[in-house]
């Protein structure tokens, strides 16, 4: 084989600077002289704005400058010779500063010679370290000093005040300064002096800020679109440039014809307007240039700026091939680290496979299958990187042709690596690496256990899938991004993947009460993907605890607490005591999972977790699990107790109100009587609500599915149940009872100044019985309030996040363990003080207790 030579190129730095007229001329391939674009045949006019020497946008034509076709030629600049100099709008404020600071006669900066030298040396020394803002600040101080000088210290000439009439007209006293005059003044400033203003004479001479030549951007950055009707529609920039060229030609003609000064000046101002809006069409003092339809043109500044601008949209954000997006749906039978990919998607997304002597045989099979049969291949890539599509016609020939050194873009196979992502990608677990599992159907499938890190649900959510195309990318994805490496959140050092929902209910039921025949138990085990039944006790009836023990390793020991505070003991891989619920299996605390990771590693844990998850679901599948209205039924006695509590609360609150009106209410320190009353009533009502909740908790059917969900931590809490069975409770707006609405009352149903619980948003009914109209309205009020809160919060927190990410993005840990920014400035000597990676710790700390316990 031939030794291949690899060239590695890298951009080391980018220098910014202004374009000098000389430079514009140098890089220009054409002088544009006519505003016409096309001739009668629709061919670009020579010397026009669409001249093919500036690049081509038509695939049929070759560029006249470089001879290459569309896509190969990036385009070439042209230029216009402006009849009169024109101010550049973006430099207008700086020009004003310079004009004010230099002498009108001798154009020297108005600082004494001795001081000048000091300043220049200090600037040169300071430049090394100070930031841009620092430099601008210094320059500003300097300019402010010179601005107010009325007499030149060098030639003693008296200084007229220079004013600006925005955007681009300058006056010296009463006299208007033409750009020509300004330009001659700026030209005379020496290279040394110009540094005072923070300019670098090598890259920015002040006279360049006044344009004599205008660079015309290449055609490729302002392509025209051909509409269906065959009509051409030009880009906004082309329109604007057309205006400029047209007025420029008129100005030339008028000057040459010796037209009166007024006409020339009018045209000059018009040209100035066009050039200004060419650079920025949102200058405050100018009317924006518009299309004939009245919509403002999008010129250079608008192209770069803002979220949809070049920088944030095209440069900092990229688009990608080899990706897919559809609706997601759950599939617990997948392993947690897998993703189900629909067959049709798997036949569109491909992985390049390099052909070697060893794999040529089976790769040829893919080619033989072609693009329409799975598993096939869509393209072959020749060693010179030319892509060839595999079709029925080319198949035979390509099969002959391929040999080691070729690559084949084959269909996605089970076990391929893919990146799976759901927006908004708020943390690194929003994009994880999964293994492909090709499935029938048309949705992307994922194990519901990974909903938490993606924050996904299945009410129509869509997710994205990306297929890494190079060996490095695949390796990085597999080692750094695979689901099992992301089990512990770097935010708080606890696991974020765990059992949830039905899996929790199921395992709760299983470990608390269920029993199975040996036959059924082995059936369950087989269904969840366990085929080793040796751990199952050899007896007729197997308890749930014994069943779940089959999933743990024989040497696994664990003691912990369940949600209700009872002990959970696993000894030698057997669950001896306790119920497994959210505290041990769930996300967040998930202590049992934590221990599994520590003892057996992430790969083993994720498999066990998958089995636990499926076990929970399998139990529910076999036993059935439905919540119903009957879950909220309470015994007669409990119902009475609840109404008793609520009635008492009514009486008590009326008592408070009475005391308040009589003025005998004991006022709390630092508060008014009204505030005291509100606080007291609120306290009272919340207590009443809690009491009803307690009654429900005690009297509701403890084995009802609703209760199982609450107890296991799968969904809901006892308050939800109490709201259904007993009393919804006080509705709160901004920390207090509802008080706004009509004059001195909440709703027109009530008398003015009614302070009773009913009139201030207390809902004494429950959801089962149904709410009274006023109560319903109060509920709607708080509901709306919380919707508003969410709607206002999302953009706010999004912006905070963006700012944080932008400010901190280049902080990294260096090889010497210091945290430094991009300037190599040390921010922390050791990350977080101790150098501990939160995602490798336990809740941010090293668990000393566990270590002591483990070293017996």
């Amino acid at each position: 084989m031939v030794e291949q030579q690899y060239v590695f190129r890298e951009v080391k730095s980018i220098i910014f600077g202004m374009l000098s007229p000389k430079m514009i001329k140098q890089m220009s391939s054409i002088k544009v002289v006519t505003p016409e674009l096309y001739d009668k045949e629709g061919y670009p006019v020579d010397g026009g704005l669409m001249d093919i020497r500036m690049g081509v946008i038509d695939p049929a034509i070759k560029c006249k400058t470089c001879g290459s076709k569309l896509k190969e030629c990036t385009g070439h600049f042209g230029h216009i010779e402006l009849a009169r100099p024109i101010m550049h709008i973006k430099y207008a404020p700086l020009i004003l500063n310079i004009l004010r600071s230099i002498c009108n006669e001798c154009t020297k900066p108005m600082v004494e010679a001795s001081k000048l030298k000091n300043i220049i040396t200090s600037i040169e020394e300071g430049d090394e370290e100070t930031t841009t803002t620092g430099r601008t600040k210094r320059t500003k101080g300097l300019v402010d000093g010179m601005k107010s000088t009325t007499k030149c210290p060098h030639c003693n000439a008296k200084q007229e005040k220079i004013t600006i009439e925005k955007p681009t007209t300058y006056f010296e006293g009463e006299k208007r300064l033409s750009p020509i005059e300004i330009r001659t003044r700026l030209e005379k400033i020496s290279d040394d002096d110009i540094q005072l203003f923070g300019l670098n004479p090598e890259h920015a001479r002040p006279e360049w800020m006044i344009l004599t030549l205008l660079a015309i951007p290449p055609v490729t950055m302002r392509p025209s679109i051909t509409l269906e009707s065959g009509e051409r529609s030009e880009d906004d920039l082309t329109h604007k440039l057309g205006d400029i060229v047209r007025i420029n030609q008129r100005l030339f003609e008028n000057i040459n014809a010796g037209a009166p000064e007024i006409i020339v000046e009018d045209l000059w101002d018009l040209l100035q307007y066009h050039v200004t809006t060419f650079f920025d069409n949102a200058v405050p003092q100018l009317p924006p240039a518009r299309h004939r339809s009245g919509q403002p043109l999008k010129t250079i500044t608008e192209r770069i700026k803002s979220k949809e601008g070049r920088i944030r949209h095209n440069l900092a954000g990229k688009r990608t091939n080899f990706s897919a997006r559809t609706v997601i749906s759950p599939d617990p039978m997948l392993e947690i680290y897998e993703v189900g990919v629909p067959l049709i998607t798997a036949m569109k997304l491909t992985v390049p496979e390099k052909i070697t002597e060893w794999n040529i045989k089976h790769v040829k099979e893919y080619v033989k299958n072609g693009p329409k049969e799975y598993p096939g291949a869509n393209y072959i890539i020749r060693p010179d990187e030319k892509k060839k599509k595999i079709t029925d016609e080319t198949k035979e020939q390509l099969l002959e042709e391929i040999e080691p050194g070729y690559s084949v873009e084959r269909h996605l196979l089970d076990g391929d690596i893919a990146l799976f992502n759901r927006q908004p990608s708020l943390h690194r677990m929003s994009m994880m690496c999964h293994r492909v599992r090709v499935l029938p159907g048309k949705t992307l499938r994922l194990n519901p256990a990974v909903c938490a890190p993606y924050n996904a649900d299945f009410d129509g959510d869509e997710m994205n899938l990306h297929i890494p195309q190079t060996e490095e990318a695949r390796a990085e994805a597999e080692i750094l991004m695979q689901v099992q490496t992301q089990l512990i959140s770097p935010r708080y050092g606890l696991s974020i993947i765990g059992c949830n929902q039905d899996a929790l209910s199921g395992n709760y039921l299983l470990t608390s009460q269920l029993e199975f025949s040996h036959k059924e138990a082995s059936d369950i085990l087989y269904n969840i993907g366990v085929d080793d039944f040796s751990r199952l006790p050899k007896k007729d009836i197997v308890t749930g605890k014994e069943l779940i023990s089959c999933l743990f390793e024989k040497d696994f020991n664990f003691t912990g607490k369940s949600r209700d505070g009872n002990e959970v003991i696993i000894k030698n891989g057997k669950l001896i005591k306790g119920i497994l619920d959210k505290a041990n299996l769930g996300e967040g605390s998930g202590l049992l999972l934590r221990m599994l990771i520590k003892k057996y590693g992430e790969d083993k844990t994720i498999l066990t977790l998958g089995q636990l998850y499926r076990l929970g679901i399998e139990i529910l599948l076999r036993k059935g699990f439905t919540i119903g209205l009957a879950d909220t039924d309470l015994p007669q006695k409990a119902e009475e107790e609840i109404s008793q509590i609520l009635a008492q609360a009514q009486v008590d609150s009326k008592d408070f109100i009475k005391k308040f009106h009589e003025g005998t209410l004991e006022v709390l320190p630092g508060k008014t009587a009204m505030e005291t009353l509100e606080l007291r009533i609120l306290e009272l009502l919340n207590k009443a609500r809690d009491n009803t909740g307690r009654v429900v908790a005690q009297n509701a059917n403890q084995t009802s599915p609703s209760m199982v969900m609450v107890k296991s931590g799968a969904r809901g809490n006892i308050i939800n149940l109490a709201q259904m069975a007993a009393c919804v409770g006080q509705q709160a707006l901004s920390g207090g009872r509802i008080g706004k609405g009509y004059k001195n009352r909440t709703l027109s149903h009530f008398k003015e100044n009614d302070l009773t619980p009913d009139a201030r948003g207390f809902i004494k009914n429950n959801f089962k019985k149904g709410l009274a109209p006023a109560e319903f309205f109060f509920g709607a009020m708080t509901g709306r309030d919380s919707l508003m809160d969410t709607a206002l919060r999302t953009p706010k927190s999004g912006y905070l996040y963006r700012r944080l990410a932008n400010a901190l993005q280049d902080l990294k840990v260096n090889y010497d363990h210091t945290v430094r920014d991009a300037n190599n400035k040390i921010v922390q000597f050791k990350y977080g003080g101790d150098g501990v990676d939160v995602s490798k710790s336990e809740g941010g700390v090293i668990n000393v207790d566990e270590i002591i316990k483990s070293t017996q």
């Binding site: 890298e10 770069i304 919060r793 990410a805």
Partner: protein, 376 residues
Amino acid sequence: MVESLVKEYTGKLPVKLLGELKDKLTAQKINKTRAKKIFETTLQEYLDAQVAPGEAVGIIAAESIGEPGTQMTLNTFHFAGVSEMNVTTGLPRIIEVFDGRKNIATPMMDVYLKAPYNKGKDIRKLALLIKQSTLQDIIKEVNTDLMNGKIEVEILSAKLDDHGLAQAQLKKILEKGLKGVNVKIDGSLITLAPSSKESNLNDLYKLKEKLKKIHMSGLKGVTHVLPVKRDEEFVIMTAGSKLKEVLELEFVDETRTVSNDIYEIAENLGIEAARTAVMNEVFKVINAQGLTIDERHIVLVADMMCVTGGIKGITRYGIVSEKASVLARASFETPIKHLISAALTGEEDYLNSVVENVMINQPIPTGTGMPKLSTK
């Protein structure tokens, strides 16, 4: 015995962990060989948990704070039920802290008191000394005597005592505050007469309004005070922050008194105190919301805000403007401004950070991009 081990592992393990080990091992009376083993395992686990070089800790911190941001509430809450004393909490407060704002919405102080004063005796009096008080607070009645062109103010003498002022002092204050007015104090009656003869009715009314606003005692800007019992002692919470003045008061425990105004802290106590204040303020909000964020992330943000020696907010004027790279700055906000100024100064972008390299399709210099290996 444990001490010798502690000594041995000093420098290898962080101080906090050593302290924890020492306490726990001493308490459990563990023999030497086992203790040694525990130390060794701890060290091993500690080393295993170290961050990998190249880890983009900044991004992780930003994610860790930004992601739960969506779960925070927007509401401001009333402070201990007093409606005028609002406290900014939740997301707005976090934004305020990270912005590095000079004027925060609700400045507050927790004023701790020194030993004899914190028992609760005369706590109200002490609180009143801090609170900004005007004459209005002690006025019982104001009468305008149009005939004689004077104003009679009846004050509550008891309240005057509460503010720790004698009549003579009050007279001085009034004379200083109302120039050109004769002040006479007789018991609880103050008589005010403009000294100039040609005073008209209008002036009299103006005087009446003015005198109510005369600053009498306490610290200007501290609008409310509220003594509360915290654990075994009394603490005065205030709305309005005047840290410097409060710390100068003789009965104030200057070691514990805090403000929530980070700028004020930086000015009076230095940048390290401000850094701690940033952390504490953020933690206060996060804990109140019931969220969990590891302290390392917040420490990193606080460090970043304070590395330059002054407080730099996370805004385009603060941290972001300090970046060396033109493109990095331009990709945040106001790109045109940055590009123009870069052109003028002939800036060179060395492409040291993340976004610039993303822009030109080069590997970023963090994580796996750091070793600069080229493969094919």
